[in-house]
Amino acid sequence: MPSITPAEVAHLARLSRLALSEAELEAMAGQLDVIINSVARVSEVAGTDVPPTSHSVPLTNVFRTDVVLPSLSPEAALSGAPAAEGQRFRVPRILDEE
């Protein structure tokens, strides 16, 4: 298996939305390499004839009737918000400046 480069770790951190420091990235590169290499042996026994299991309970498409049930009030839903305005979550800008 190929080893994980620092550039790859930085890319993973960006995908993971983790603003890691240079020191953290460096430490993480070594650790990820060791861990990934130790788990890579799963491919030894994973033949093409073996179906994957995503879940131990064979359940698909659990439906319920479409009825209105009690749910959180806006106040309760917003009770843990870092910032709120009116009945809405207040968030930093999502789009780049026009």
Binding site: M1, I4, V9, L12, A13, R14, L15, S16, R17, L18, A19, L20, S21, E24, M28, Q31, L32, V34, I35, I36, S38, V39, A40, R41, V42, S43, E44, V45, A46, G47, V50, P51, P52, T53, S54, H55, S56, V57, L59, V62, R64, L72, A76, A77, S79, G80, A81, P82, A83, F89, V91, P92, R93, I94, D96
Partner: protein, 497 residues
């Protein structure tokens, strides 16, 4: 009235029902015990004194009004901090949720409240249940009541320490790769991972959704059964919840019997890497099962050797997706929102500040394993291993009613001993992971103290999915025989704190 903290859960409920002590007195005795010993143990992240006394007073009022009390009414319980409890701080052992008070109850919490169980507080845990020692808590480690320099297991280490340290007769934990059974093993108590889907996950803050399962901790098998029965059952709010009757675990715990039962010793879950003392106590317990009338044989589950690497791909993959919800937008910590930074920058700064090292590692591993180009080799292969492990179990359960192994290869290790070595830490879950991958039911109960270090050894019993009652039937029989041999429960030998 300190003796109130020494009672079993069943005795506690009987004491309250008969009026020999009020629920408030029982709760106060446990709050006093927590006040006296938790500076040493650090089992609790939050003690809900007012809520617990109010819940106890409600039980006393029900009794005064002539109501028939349930089998756990008034019994104190310690709740792992991964379960949402309305109005009570719920952190998952993480800075990212510090100060958050959920606006709703987990289904497990609702059921406990309805049963009159008194939740005394929220227990410490490895951050987001990722760990085997409780050292990954952002709020400091928990200590093992048997030896304060050692870990209480993890990730539900606060729950195991609270029960072993007589701060509560019962606790709820969660088990994703062994996080109930391994802490129970290293603290000398009983812990059960029910069948996946047996207990609702609604309000259980997700780490690895296809593996997470809540279950009971207790100081004996019967108490664990009472708690299991109280929290199990179908829940429409959890679409993976099994819509079938809960196996009668309480009756099974009352009628422990292994005569004629076929017990398979799993060859792959023993041998090299296991403490001599662990192997000795395990072998003695297996011999005892034979003496009690079980038909004991050996069974090979060849793919169990691949369970750990599969787990350390599947769990991080699911975690990297689940923990995306901690985005600094709707609840929890928000860092760096200075009016100029974008939402994406604030997310990345918040997550870097709010998550600890192990959580970051697992999110990164999961992101890697799910990346295009690597998906088939890692996550895809791990899912195939999961199939092979389920097939191993199915074949073994054709020949045997239950399977057994040590719960963990070693006794409790020292705090700090493995914290810099993630792979060494992962070995603690070697024996417990297969049951999570296959979704079947598993129990750990104490089978003695290791002659090497005098610390508790856990005995694991595995049963097919929805045959949880078998765990209790075997566990109760073994427990009774061991208690006869020891002249009383093992936990009585734990040092006074």
């Amino acid at each position: 009235m300190t003796e109130l903290t020494r009672l079993t859960a069943a005795q506690t409920a009987a004491t309250i029902a008969s009026g020999d002590a009020s629920a408030v007195e029982v709760t106060q005795a446990h709050l006093d015990r927590i006040g006296a010993v938790d500076t040493s143990l650090h089992a609790f992240l939050h003690v809900d004194t007012d809520g617990a006394l109010a819940a106890a007073a409600a039980v006393d009022a029900q009794r005064a009004a002539g109501a028939t009390l349930g089998p756990l009414a008034g019994v104190p319980l310690a709740l792992k901090d991964v379960l949402a409890m309305q109005g009570v701080p719920t952190t998952c052992g993480s800075k990212i949720l510090e100060g958050w008070r959920p606006p709703y109850d987990a289904t497990v919490v609702r059921k406990l409240r309805e049963a009159g169980v008194v939740i005394v507080g929220k227990t410490n845990m490895d951050e987001f249940a990722m760990g085997s020692s409780t050292e990954n808590s952002a709020f400091g480690p928990t200590h093992n009541p048997w030896d304060l320099d050692r870990i209480p297991g993890g990730s539900s280490g606060g729950s195991s320490a609270a029960v072993a340290g007589y701060e509560a007769p019962l606790a709820v934990g969660t088990d994703t790769g062994g996080s109930i059974r391994q802490p129970a093993a290293v603290t000398g108590i009983v812990g059960v991972k029910p069948t996946y889907g047996g207990v609702s996950r609604y309000g259980l803050i997700a780490f690895s959704s296809s593996l997470d399962q809540a279950g009971p901790f207790a100081r004996n098998v019967y108490d664990a059964a009472l708690l299991h029965a109280a929290i199990a059952g179908h829940d429409p709010l959890d679409s993976t919840s099994i819509d079938a009757p809960v196996p009668d675990v309480v009756a099974a715990a009352l009628h422990g019997d292994v005569r004629g039962l076929r017990v398979g010793v799993v060859r792959e879950l023993n041998g090299e890497g296991y403490d001599t003392g662990v192997r000795q106590r395990f072998a003695e317990a297996v011999t005892l099962l034979g003496e009690l009338g079980a038909e004991v044989g050996e069974v090979s589950c060849p793919h169990f050797d691949y369970a750990m690497p599969a787990y350390y791909l599947i769990a991080p993959s699911e975690c990297s997706s689940n923990l995306a919800r901690f985005d600094a937008m709707r609840f929890g910590l928000r860092v760096g929102d200075d009016g100029n930074r974008s939402a994406e920058e604030v997310m990345a700064l918040t997550r870097a500040a709010g998550f600890g090292a192990e959580v970051k590692r697992r999110i990164m591993i999961g992101t890697y394993a799910l990346s295009s180009g690597y998906y088939d080799a890692y996550y895809g292969s791990a899912q195939k291993v999961r199939t092979l492990i389920s097939r191993d179990f199915a074949a073994a359960f054709e020949r045997f009613d239950v399977l057994v192994s040590p719960t963990t290869p070693t006794t409790a290790f020292r705090i700090g001993e493995r914290s810099e070595h993630p792979l060494k830490m992962y070995l603690a879950d070697l024996d417990t992971i297969p049951s999570n991958l296959a979704g079947n039911a598993s129990m750990s109960l104490p089978c003695g103290l290791s002659p090497e270090d005098g610390l508790p050894v856990g005995f694991q019993i595995m049963a097919p999915a929805m045959a949880d009652d078998r765990l209790y039937r075997v566990g109760a029989a073994l427990e009774a025989a061991l208690n006869d041999r020891w002249g009383g429960p093992l936990i009585d030998r734990a040092p006074a704190l």
